[in-house]
């Protein structure tokens, strides 16, 4: 009986999180357009619904009714597979992400995470990196030179930024003596790790921008020089899968920033319920991501490589050394 209840609870949690993840990008697209509009002294979407609130619905309907085009010489199998490949890892990541401590419902203790792995952080970094395969295979399968260039750049960019990203969280692991995200958050009960790890956070955030393919590092799309980069040939629902996964990766990186460096669901000064604190902090990071998009220009490809290998990598190694001395 206990076992069945536990299985049902896990199943319900998985379904709830999956549904939330499918819904979350919808308000995010609206937010992004509004922020873009206001930064550029426009109003953004205003026509559909109050202040354009129903604009995502209109967009969704438009994408659903678009013709699904597959280029003549494309690799059909990979072309169809790529959007799904890019969509699965962002969902898989959320297995290991905790949203808070336990709550008790009807006398039954329910934890606000699906699984507390003792290699949680490493799991998240490993699985989040797989999202990029959708981009790579999609660009290659399109059989278009713009798309191919987009995926080539993505390959090189991924390898260059995954390393500093992995190194930047080592400082956090050293401070909390654990790779379980629950332990990491609990270690920040009094002082957030941003106080001890400002350099680590900076590297993580910059590498996260690159990982999420956001401006100033969205060389895979680069609509200025590559048409639309890897998704030049995609249309309709297949295209929207790519967008969905892009927003989910942005959400993942924001959540990781909060969990690793900004104390997770532990609040300061104002006593709010833990999930609200958590949502507020994540929202702030998503806002920063969008704000960056309309503030910075895109880097050139060689500049991108230089930043990755000659700036971020040495800095992240230095950060590990510094943390070691600090702990010692």
């Amino acid at each position: 009986m206990e076992l069945i209840i536990a299985a049902i609870v896990i199943l319900i949690k998985v379904i709830v999180i999956a549904v939330i993840l499918f819904i979350v990008p919808i308000p995010l697209t609206w937010m992004e357009r509004k922020i873009a509009g206001h930064i550029q002294q426009r109003l953004g979407p205003m026509r559909v619904g109050w202040h354009g609130l129903l604009q995502p619905v209109a967009d969704g309907l438009k994408l659903l009714t678009k013709e699904d085009i597959i280029p003549d010489q494309a690799d059909r199998l990979l072309f169809k597979m790529a959007p799904l490949v890019s969509l699965v890892p962002p969902f898989a990541v959320f297995v290991a992400i905790p949203f808070g401590e336990s709550v008790s419902v009807m006398g039954y203790e329910i934890s606000l995470y699906i699984s507390d792995m003792n290699v949680g952080l490493l799991y998240i970094l490993a699985v989040a990196g797989l999202e990029i395969y959708g981009v790579i295979f999609g660009g290659w399968a399109s059989n278009s030179k713009y798309a191919l260039l987009g995926s080539l750049r993505t390959c090189a960019q991924l390898i260059s930024y995954e390393i500093p990203m992995g190194f930047s969280v080592i400082g956090v692991i050293m401070l909390s003596h654990s790779m379980s995200l629950l332990d990491i958050v609990n270690a920040q009960q009094d002082i957030w790790f941003i106080v001890y790890q400002p350099l680590g956070f900076f590297i993580f955030f910059v590498a996260g921008l690159a990982e999420a393919q956001r401006i100033p590092f969205d060389l895979a799309e680069a609509e200025g020089d590559l048409g639309a980069g890897f998704h030049t040939e995609y249309s309709g629902m297949r295209f929207s899968f790519f967008m969905l996964s892009e927003y989910l990766v942005m959400l993942t990186i924001s959540i990781l920033c909060v969990l690793l460096f900004f104390g997770g669901w532990h609040g300061v000064l104002i006593p709010l319920p833990a999930p609200i604190w958590f949502a507020l902090k994540v929202g702030l990071f998503i806002y920063i991501f969008m704000w960056f998009r309309f503030t910075f220009p895109r880097y050139r490809y060689d500049q991108l490589m230089n930043i990755g290998w000659k700036v971020l990598l040495p800095l992240s190694l230095f950060n590990i050394l510094l943390t070691g001395i600090f702990i010692f």
Binding site: D75, L77, L78, M81, M117, N118, V119, L122, Y123, L125, A126, V127, G129, L130, I132, Y133, I136, F137, W140, L148, S151, L152, C155, A156, L158, I159, E162, H177, M179
Partner: protein
């Protein structure tokens, strides 16, 4: 239950490994190899070593395969996919590996070692910590030697790739 999962992962792993060899298109081979690596990671989880499983995904699927795919994309592989996989008169080159393979399989399955394998040991809690301690105390020398070997390989690669006029 566990055996069912093992069979599932093992069958997918073997089929995808076969696909790596059979597929004409190198990119398809790469996809199949990725699938194979992921299955092997799943088998590591069944063997109670989640750390090894995650590292498998991180290093092999996440990094090494990206490098493979990067190289494939630089090459003109459309020509290669048009060529026949086996030349007509290559039946001998098919037969001999098949024969060797069957001999190998026969040797493996007739070995007494396969029938008295011990089940996986339940590791102590916090296996990452244990692993780290072991790596930096008992196995420090092998660990350092492996690092040096990797460094030498890196230097060698850079030497081979450098331009002559520098």
């Amino acid at each position: 239950m566990e055996q069912a999962f093992f069979l599932l992962f093992a069958i997918v792993a073997v089929v995808s490994a076969g696909w790596v060899v059979i597929a004409k298109n190198p990119i398809h081979s790469a996809v199949a190899l990725m699938a194979c690596f992921v299955q092997i990671a799943a088998i590591y989880v069944l063997l109670r070593s989640p750390f090894l499983a995650v590292v498998q995904v991180f290093v092999y699927v996440g990094a090494i395969m990206v490098l493979f795919v990067f190289v494939f994309m630089m090459l003109e592989i459309r020509q290669a996919t048009l060529e026949r996989f086996l030349p007509d008169r290559g039946w001998l080159s098919t037969l001999i590996p098949l024969l060797l393979g069957f001999i190998l399989l026969g040797a493996i399955f007739s070995s007494p070692l396969i029938s008295n394998m011990t089940p996986p040991v339940e590791p102590p809690s916090g296996s990452v910590r244990e692993l780290g301690i072991l790596m930096f105390t008992q196995y420090l020398l092998p660990f350092e030697v492996v690092s040096i070997v990797l460094l030498v390989a890196l230097v060698g690669a850079i030497y081979l790739a450098r331009k002559d006029d520098i």
